[in-house]
Each structure stands twice: as C-alpha cells, then as structure tokens.
C-alpha cells in the first residue's frame, strides 16, 4: 500500500504509523505543524520523523541522519521539488525524499520510510 495518504483538511484524529508490530499511535494530528516535523520513539528503540505538508499529506521516515548518526531529521526544513516533498537535514543539509526515504543528494543512501494514517476515533 502507499505510505502517503491525502486526507482533506482540517486534519483531526490520531496520527498512526505502521511498524513491524502493527499501527502505532503517535500524536494528535493538530500537533503536526505544516512544514515542520516531530520525532517519535518506536517500540524497538528506533526513531521516526513525521511530517505534514501544506496540503495535509503525512509522511514518516527514519529520524537518524545517516550522515552524522544524530536523531535530527525531524528538525529539518520541509521542501518541495517537482511536487515531491523532502526534508533537508539540519546538520549537513542533505535532502531525503519523504515518500520513500531515499537521499536526493547521494543515491547510495536511504533511510527507512513508514506508512502513516490518521484514524478518526
């Protein structure tokens, strides 16, 4: 399935992310500021970075910047390039495609990507 959903605004409900163990509730949708990320701690100790773009689309990728080892991707700035959203790492500025985690500046590098959804409970 696609890991990008396009709910209509306004976005309310709980943001959930799918890991190997199943769907994990992360935060209230309102806590995701358009253009800014948050970090989530996963049950296995990994970290994910969640984003919401201006159109309301949600994304989740690995939070650890593979170029520095620091858990910082959620702190990067979101941008768009030919309609695809990416985040620029705040440390050394490499960009990662938010839909599939691959690095736009170095083909050999990718971070994980996770399906996300909003459940309207």
């Amino acid at each position: 399935m696609s890991n990008v959903i396009s709910p209509t605004l306004p976005l309310t409900g709980t943001v959930e992310l799918r890991t190997a163990e199943g769907w994990l509730a992360v935060c209230a949708a309102e806590e995701l500021l358009p253009g800014r990320g948050v970090a989530a701690l996963l049950p296995d100790g990994r970290q994910a970075a969640l984003f919401r773009d201006r159109a309301g689309r949600l994304y989740a990728i690995g939070n650890v910047d593979p170029f520095t080892g620091a858990g910082v991707l959620s702190h990067g700035l979101l941008g768009t390039l030919q309609d695809r959203a990416y985040v620029a790492s705040p440390l050394l500025k490499q960009r990662f495609d938010l839909a599939d985690g691959h690095c736009l500046d170095d083909d050999s590098v990718a971070v994980a990507s996770y399906p996300v959804r909003v459940s309207r409970s």
Binding site: L33, V38, L77, T80
Partner: protein
C-alpha cells in the same frame, strides 16, 4: 625525450635563475609557484627593464585607453614576496658561465644556479638604412619606448612607421592617437602579410585609410632624411618619393635576443633563436629557453604570447619533475588595430594540399572573411577582417568538420545565413582561450563544479581571458549558456519557488505589508510554485525578511509564532545552536563582554547543574554545550531569572559587539568604548539580517577590539568616533572601510541605523556586509552617498524601520518559557515527552563532557 637531471628534483638548496622578466618570464614564475617549486627552491630573477613584467600586448592601450604603466603590470601585488622570489629590477645579466654555473649581472651580482632559464624575448629589428640613428627615430617594444615616443611627438606634426605588420599597425595606431599625420610603409604588397591574404589585406587597407592613416605598400625605405638640427625630417622611399615626417618608428620585425646564449656557447639557429627541445631545454640540460628568444623544436621562433606561455608551462613542469612538452603552436591572432578587427587562424593562407576556400567580401563596409576548408570539409583556417564576431567559435572548430556549411559561416548574419553558430555547438575539447590553453570543458567545469557565475570569476578560476583578451566575448556567451543549462543563476531568482532576488522580495514585503510566507508565495511565487511548501532556501530567507520588518508589516515579532515557526532554520526553531550529535548549545548575551561576578557565578552554576561543557567564545561571551532539547527551557528559566537574554548565537542576527576596556581603565583610551559597545549591542540585539552581524568598539586607534574586522566597527578618536563598515574575519577576511569620521554619539547611532537597514534591504541571503559592499554597484561610494548624503531620499524611512525594530524588541527566551504552547515543542519525542534522545551521548574529556564519537554505517534498512 625527457632527460632527468638534478634539476628535475629540486630541493630546498636548489637555485633557479630566470633571466628576463617579460610576459613569458612572469608566466613561468606563476607556473613554478603553482607547482610549489618556489616553496622548495630559491628563485632569482634578473630583470633588465626598470619595472617588473607588464602586459606588452596591451602597450598601445596606454595611448588608446589612457592606461597607466601600472595598469599594464602583470604580477599581482605581493606575488614575489609571497613566493619568496628574489627580483632584481633594472639589473640585466651580462654573462653566463656554464662551467661554474654562474650568472653575473650588471651590478656585479653573481648567482650560482642549478637551473637557468632564459626568457630574454626579442629586440626590434632596425634595417640598416642611412639616418636610422638620428634624433626622432624610435622602436616600439617597451614602456620606456612608448614614453619616449610620447615625449618626442609633442614637438612634431607627422610620423612614419616602417613596417605594416602587426606591430607596425600598433605603432601607427599609437602615432595616430598622439595626433600626428601618420604614414605606414610596408615592403610587401599588402598590410599584415604574415597573417592575412590578399583579399584581407585590401579590406584592411581600406579600413586603415578610412581612419586617416596613409598606407604605402610595395615600397621600401631607402633613407631617413635628417635636417640641419640633426633631427628626422622625412623618409625617402624606394620608388623615389619622399614622405615628410617629424619622427620614425621602426617596426620591421623582431629578432630573438640570443646574445647571452651565443656568448656561452649554446647552439642557436641560423636566423637566431636559442635551440631547445620539446621540454624547452637547450643543449645544456640545466639551461632552458622560453618565449620569443627560443627556437622551438619545430624550427620556429614564436613571436606571440600564447606559444610563449605554453613554453613557460612546459619548462616549469619539467623543472618540477612533471611531464610536459611544447611541440609547436598555431599562429592564430585576433587584433584590434586602429579600431579595425583582424583575425587569422590555422592555415590562413591555404597551403594544405587540396584545400578550398570560401570567401565573402564587402568592400564598402570593409568586411572580408575567408575560410580554408579541406577536401573532406574539415575547417583548416581562415582570415577575418572588419567583423570578427565568429572568431571565438571558428578557431576552436579548426581541425573538425563544422556542423554548418562553410558558406553559411562566412555570410553576415541575416544575409541568408540560416544559423548562427554559438559556442554551445563546440565540443568540450575545443580550446576557447588559446593564450592559456583553456578548453570549453574546463570553462563549463568552472561554472558547474566551482560555482563561477560571471566572466570575472571564470577568469580567476581558469585564467581564460586573461591573456590577449580575444576570447572574453565568447567566454561570456559560454558562461551564460552553461548557467542556463544548469537552470541556476542566470535566473537571478532566489530559488525554484521565487523568481525575485532577496532584495526584490524585501521591497514586495515592505510595499505590500505582507506578513506571511504563504501570502508571499501564493501571491508572488513562481507560476508552478504557488500553493507548494517552498524549500529550505526561501523559507529562512523570507522568515528573515519578515522578522526584520515584523514591527512594520505587522508580522509576529516572535520567531516561534504560528507559521513563522515552520520557516526557521533548526537553530532558530529551538533558539539554540544544534551541535554535531544533535545536542544544543546556549549562548546568553553578555553585552560588550562586560559581566558581573554574580552573573558569572550563575552561568557557572547552571553549567555545573546541567553538566554542560563550558567555553569562552571568540566573541567575548560564554558558550554552554551539550544540552538536550528538553533541557533548554529549564536552563533558560534559570538564566532569564538571573537577568540573561538570548544571545542570538543561533540566528542570522546581531551577534556580539565586542569592546576593549577603553578610557575608563586604559591609559591610552580616549572614549568609553565599553559603554558604547553595550549601547550598540542593546540597540541592535535581535535584529534579523541576511547574514550574522558582528561589531566591536575600540577605545583608541590601538584597536584592541579589532573593530576593523567587523561588519560595523567603531574606533574612538579625540573628537568622537570613526565608523568602519564591511569588515570580516572568517573565511575571507577583509578590513573594514572608513565610512565617516569624528561622529558624535547620536550621529554614530543614526549612521549605523541607516547602514544596517540599507544592507538588510539590499543584500542577498547569507551575504555578509563585506561581500555585499563589494558586490553592489558603486560599492562604498554608493553606500556612503545613500546613508550619509541621503542620495536616494530613503534615510528617513531607514531610521523609522530601525526605530520600529528597537521599540518592538522582546527577549525570545523570556517569551518562550512563559508560553506553554511554545514550550510543548521542546521534547525529543512527541509520543514519549519524558524520554531523552538516546543517540545524544557524551564521554568525558579534560574534566568536562564531549559528544561521543559516532561510528557511521551509511545504511539503515528499510522496514515497513
């Protein structure tokens, strides 16, 4: 054949002696320096002329463009000193002893060499005609010749040049420029017989005559007539006629200066020139000869600078132990003689077997073009007179089959030529600049890989265009084409989302009172960019504009409010500087560097309680490193309670105003520099700008606060303050320029207000004041006109904008810790607010902490 001798493995004790500091000699020194040879060997230069190397090629510009001898100088300031080269100006070599390897100069100086390089150039050939030594006879080769010609010309009204070749026409141009009735006498049936063919010669002649120069071809000079006063009175020609002339310039060719070489027994050619091999070595393996004095291995003496430069490179390479060879060069030339463009390249005379030529000639406009084409369509060479636009493209195409039929290449644009061939049609290997042997690929690389966006940058990076200058025009086309291909900078727009520059966006925001990024993007962004998320380039740039103008346009003054929060760079977002392991640093403001013991103690206690690494910064304050995001509000609560404010170390904003202790304590101080530094720091704190702003105030001219390295620096005088602007430390240090002197306190502040607001208004993102000041048209003078003399009538507005900023300032950290919504952001994990980020780890060092080194594996497997 490359002979390896002691000379090719130079050591610190090696001595390299260069005789002759002309164009090629200088180039040789640069090539040595480029290869680091000047660092390991002693280099001694004997220079006969009274000045170091200058641009002989542009000698005539002294007359035509009012250039001064200094303008023609070739070695950049400090070149010799920087590379430890010993230059002896006005001290020619008089003998060489190859046995003892010594060179003796006229002054008696004797130097023992390991390697000797002869770059003695040529001397002008003066035919043995009677009267040639009379007063009023000159040659044209050096600046001294030119000064003598200029002085003598004041007393005469006409002059004649012997020789209608390249140099003769240059000399005729000089005489014409001095206002003399000018004649050119050429023995051959046409002007520039070496370079152009019959047709080209005719076109050239018409153009030259059109400029009022009398041309006499097919005649020789039989005598220089001399008056009773011993001065030149005219010239008798071989056809029996007599030309009246108050002075004569001989330009009948040059001869290699090989006398030193002859005297020490080195072989020279039949018609002169020191015999060298492919490495530019003479028969003596430790002696090289380069430039116009050398007879190259192809049996030619080259009288042009481009082949000379190649020889210089070859010799330098060989001496440095690298491979290099000079096997010959083409004789392409492009000149502007007396305002007439002339170019010839390749096999201009069509001497190749089976070649054809294609010509276009328009006698009225003086345009002549001929291309020589081989049987298979290969372009072999050509002659262009009058209109040489296409030279830059045609010369590099020589040797290949042009993509367009030759007849289209000679026709003028619009006369049935369906295509104009641009430099983009050339292959990457095509040599665009023959003086420096720079290929199209290298120029493209300069643009694409080295970020050069203008011709001057490309010139600096590749040297292309810094010789004869004939390729500069085509360089410009190439740079533009390459930039366009890269889709970057020709478009002066900020990024893929905005077509405007930062300065333009600033005007839009200010004029339309726009207070949000979205409104700006949706209303003024590029067509396809409206409604998108923008990018990491435009977001912080616009955030900075909005923050600078917040009070005026009605945007929130707090950078973490609403939409603004999503625009800020990470550092601004958390009001702290992110460090390499994801932890943050904290820099409280310490205005002017003055701090009470109580506050010092608070900083110490906070650092101790949170286990932070503590360091005195280069900016007279204290940095606390190693805080986790969730600790930031706790730390700042303690600091704010003790009266500290944000130091904006994270923002593109005012950083510090450093101070020296000044008049209060220092015996030399003439003003209270600490008070002024504190006043300025408090006035401009929080001011967002295109790049960070730094300042300093020194209490006297001893300058202990280093104010001249700051964006705005203040130095006390007996009568007030001197204001310096545009200084920079950092990567490209620059001393600040004096903007105004002896200002009162109020005048100083008013001027800084205007200066800063004008910079904020017109600078590009991440452009420090130093770079901005050098970039903007008119430079310092313009800035002074605007901010001191109010030439644009905007000073009132600039002051009002600053007043609004000062009035609207609030401490970002105090505001943040008092606002639960803003505080909610300071967590490592949104789903586990109490859990610290486990990747932030520290190890001890010298009694404090430091980030734990991270072992990187660049792959994280994708789980889904």
């Amino acid at each position: 054949m490359a002979v390896t001798t002691a000379a090719s493995r130079n050591t610190r004790d090696d001595t390299i002696v260069l005789i002759g500091h002309g164009m090629v000699g200088q180039r040789f020194l640069e090539a040595l320096a480029d290869r680091g040879v000047t660092g390991r060997a002693r280099v001694v230069v004997l220079c006969e002329e009274p000045r170091p190397a200058y641009d002989r090629v542009h000698l005539t510009s002294y007359f035509s463009e009012n250039a001064s001898p200094e303008d023609l100088s070739m070695a950049e300031d400090g070149f010799m000193a920087r590379h430890g080269i010993e230059l002896h100006v006005g001290d020619p070599a008089v003998s060489v002893d190859r046995e003892s390897r010594t060179v003796t100069a006229r002054s008696g100086l004797t130097v023992v060499y390991d390697t000797l390089v002869l770059a003695t150039g040529s001397y002008p050939f003066v035919p043995p005609v009677p009267g040639r030594d009379a007063a009023g006879c000159f040659v044209y080769r050096t600046i001294e010749d030119l000064l003598a010609i200029e002085a003598y010309a004041r007393g005469v009204s006409s002059g004649a040049v012997v020789g209608g070749g390249l140099l003769g026409l240059e000399a005729a141009g000089a005489l014409k420029g001095l206002g003399l009735d000018t004649h050119v006498v050429e023995f051959a049936p046409r002007l520039m017989p070496v370079q152009v063919d019959e047709g080209g010669g005719q076109a050239l002649r018409r153009s030259v005559e059109g400029l009022g120069v009398s041309v006499h071809t097919g005649v020789g000079t039989s005598e220089i007539t001399v008056g009773d006063d011993g001065r030149v009175s005219g010239m008798a020609l071989s056809d029996g006629s007599v030309l009246p002339a108050g002075m004569v310039v001989f330009s009948a060719g040059v001869r290699p200066r090989d006398d030193l070489a002859r005297a020490c027994g080195l072989p020279v050619g039949e018609r002169g020139g020191i015999v060298v091999d492919e490495q530019c070595r003479t028969a003596d393996a430790s002696v090289f000869a380069i430039g116009e004095c050398a007879l190259a291995c192809d049996g030619r003496v080259y009288g042009l600078v481009a082949p000379g430069n190649e020889m210089a490179e070859t010799a330098a390479r060989t001496i440095a132990g690298e491979a290099g060879a000079f096997t010959g060069a083409d004789l392409s030339t492009k000149l502007k003689l007396l305002g007439v463009d002339v170019a010839s390249f390749g096999d201009a005379h069509g001497t190749t077997d089976g070649c054809l030529d294609v010509r276009y000639s328009d006698a009225r406009s003086g345009v002549y073009r001929k291309l020589v084409v081989g049987a298979d369509g290969t372009l072999l060479g050509g002659v262009l007179v009058g209109d040489v636009e296409s030279y830059g493209v045609l010369r590099p195409l020589t040797g290949s089959v042009p993509p367009v039929a030759p007849e289209h290449l000679v026709l003028p644009a619009g006369a049935g030529a369906p295509v104009t061939l641009g430099p983009t049609a050339l292959p990457d290997e095509a040599v665009m600049c023959s003086c420096h042997n720079v290929t199209k690929g290298a120029i493209r690389g300069a643009v694409t890989d080295h970020g050069c966006g203008t011709v001057p940058e490309v010139k600096k990076c590749t040297k292309a265009g810094t010789g004869c200058g004939s390729c500069v025009k085509v360089l410009g086309q190439l740079v533009t084409a390459e930039l366009e291909a890269n889709g970057v900078m020709v478009d002066k727009g900020l990024c893929p989302h905005f077509a405007q520059t930062r300065a333009e966006l600033y005007e839009v925001v200010l004029a339309l009172r726009i207070s949000s990024y979205r409104d700006l993007l949706d209303g003024h962004g590029r067509e396809g960019a409206r409604g998108t998320d923008g990018c990491e380039v435009c977001k912080p740039a616009v955030a900075s504009i909005l923050a600078s103008l917040a009070a005026t346009v009605g945007a929130s003054v707090h950078v973490l409010d609403g939409e603004q929060a999503a625009l800020q760079d990470t550092n601004d977002h958390f009001l702290a500087n992110m460090q390499k392991n994801g932890s943050y640093s904290i820099v409280p403001r310490i205005p002017g560097g003055e701090i009470t013991p109580e506050r010092l103690i608070v900083i110490g206690e906070v650092a101790r309680d949170f286990g932070l690494y503590t360091k005195i910064t280069g900016g007279q304050r204290i940095d606390l490193f190693g805080a986790r995001v969730e600790q930031l509000p706790l730390i700042w609560t303690r600091l704010v309670d003790a009266g500290f404010e944000s130091g904006h170390a994270y923002g593109k904003a005012l950083r510090t105003v450093k101070s020296c202790v000044g008049q209060t304590w220092c015996r030399y101080g003439v003003q209270d520099s600490v008070r002024m530094a504190i006043d300025l720091e408090l006035r401009y704190r929080g001011l967002r700008s295109p790049h960070k702003l730094k300042s300093a105030v020194s209490g006297c001219a001893r300058e202990c606060a280093e104010a001249q390295s700051k964006d705005f620096g203040v130095i006390a005088t007996a009568n007030g303050w001197n204001l310096y602007v545009g200084g920079n430390g950092g990567a490209t240090p620059r001393h600040a320029d004096l903007l105004a002197q002896d200002l009162s306190d109020a005048e100083l502040v008013r001027l800084i207000d205007r200066f800063l607001m004008f910079y904020i208004r017109t600078a590009e993102p991440l452009e420090r004041t130093s770079v901005w000041l050098q970039r903007i048209a008119g430079g310092l003078d313009h800035v002074r006109d605007v901010v001191v003399h109010d030439s644009l009538g905007i000073c009132g507005e600039l002051e009002a904008l600053m007043a609004a900023h000062v009035a609207g300032y609030r401490d970002e950290w105090a505001d943040t810790i008092n606002d639960p919504e803003r505080l909610s952001r300071f967590v490592s994990f949104v789903n586990a607010p109490d859990t610290p980020d486990p990747t932030v780890r520290f190890v001890p060092e010298r009694g404090q902490i430091k980030p734990e080194p991270i072992l990187l594996t660049l792959t994280e497997t994708v789980t889904a």
